[in-house]
């Protein structure tokens, strides 16, 4: 009888251990595991995103996090958001989730008054301007990102005005160079 009891006790301990182990090994990418909570607290959301991104199962959630964080930051605009995004992008680069170039692209599109679309053109102006429409479209799209980043996320009107100045000055110069280059043909 005592033997049976002892056996029962051992069996229940083993069952408890196995149950605990089974719980801890449950697939972590179950519904909602990588999702961010429904809070509007920007700091908490950035912290959650950062924590989740350290888990390789959540890496593919990066675009979704970006969208959520942009939306949340718009709800609490201020200069501190720039450091938050920079921190998360640096972390994502270090973790290998995005390349350095992708990180620079995202950060520049939102927060740099200069245009990434222009910086990434490797050819001479005469050659690049043969595809002027493409570049202009990219610049216009980027200006929309800058509007989001500088006005709605950072609440930095001066910086956005600077971006607009680049936009109009670059377009003026590109107009003139385009005409000058085509005059030679």
């Amino acid at each position: 009888m005592t033997r049976n009891r002892r056996w029962m006790a051992r069996a229940s301990v083993l069952a408890a251990v196995l149950a605990t182990a089974a719980c801890s090994q449950q697939p972590r990418h179950d519904t909602g595991y990588c999702s961010l909570s429904h809070t509007n607290n920007v700091d908490r959301l950035f912290a959650e995103a950062s924590e989740n991104l350290h888990d390789s199962n959540c890496h593919y959630h990066f675009p979704e996090y970006r969208e959520r964080l942009v939306a949340a930051a718009k709800g609490a605009p201020g200069p501190e958001n720039e450091a938050r995004f920079a921190g998360l992008l640096r972390e994502s680069i270090d973790l290998g989730i995005i390349s350095k170039r992708q990180g620079q692209e995202v950060f520049s599109q939102y927060f740099d008054p200069e245009f990434y679309a222009v910086k990434s053109e490797p050819r001479s102006s005469c050659s690049s301007l043969k595809h002027r429409d493409r570049m202009q479209t990219a610049m216009r799209e980027e200006l929309a990102y800058k509007r989001e980043g500088m006005l709605e996320i950072l609440d930095d009107q001066a910086r956005f005005r600077q971006a607009q100045r680049y936009y109009s000055d670059l377009n003026l110069v590109f107009d003139a160079v385009d005409v000058a280059c085509s005059q030679e043909l």
Partner: protein, 281 residues
Amino acid sequence: MKNFQRNRNKRVLAVACAWALALGHGMVQAVPQSTAETRPRINLFPTSVVENLSETSRAAREMENGMYEVVARLEKQKQAYQGTHCDGSDDPGCVQLRKAIRGTYKEMLEVMQAGIPQMRRSLDATADSMGTSLRSEIGRKMTPADVQRILGGRAAGQQGLAASTASSKRQGKLSKMFSRYYELVKRGGKQSDALPVLASQIYLDSMQSLYFLDLIEAEIGSQSTELVLELEWGELTDQITATVTDVKALLWGESDQGQEILEVGLERAAPGDNYSDLLVQ
């Protein structure tokens, strides 16, 4: 003998040191020069461009002086004609006014016709030299990224950002505009970040002015003096109005926004930020 040898050695050593110092000095001077050469250099305004700008400004002033009085008279006569409801009337006063308008219009065309060749020559020269500069200095030598770098003033050591003049539309009095351009180009060395913008404005304005000259010349060509004298005012209204509008647009522009042009490159950029690793230089 030993002393002589020692002195000779000392002299050789001194000469060698002097050469070494001289060469070293030369090297020190050469280093910043070569560093400077790695920056995008820009020479958009050679002497020929500056001379052409001065000449265009002078030619425009001469043309304006000749035109101003006659266009103002034409405007007054037109107002009087419309104000007295002379359109289609056979009243002797109205007939007289129509004659006067045709006469003034003919006078305007003659003044314009006389001034056009000189104006076209100088505008052509300005557009040509400016176009060549833009093509060779920016079009071929620089990537769009270099242009952006120059506009940001980084090539000139973190200097100011070019203020926008925003529009490529020609604005303001022609002679005043070109004389402002001339002044800006003369003192352009201090604001090299704004020079591509300035050069582009000058080029596009010259091209646009040439386009207006073409329009006016074509208009003048289609209206022989006989035709102008013989046609009735009613039939000529649209033609006259169109030509006068083109003349006014060429000479006096839509509105005088010269102050904006003067602001080019005078604003300062914000200090650098802490995110250089996330920015493409």
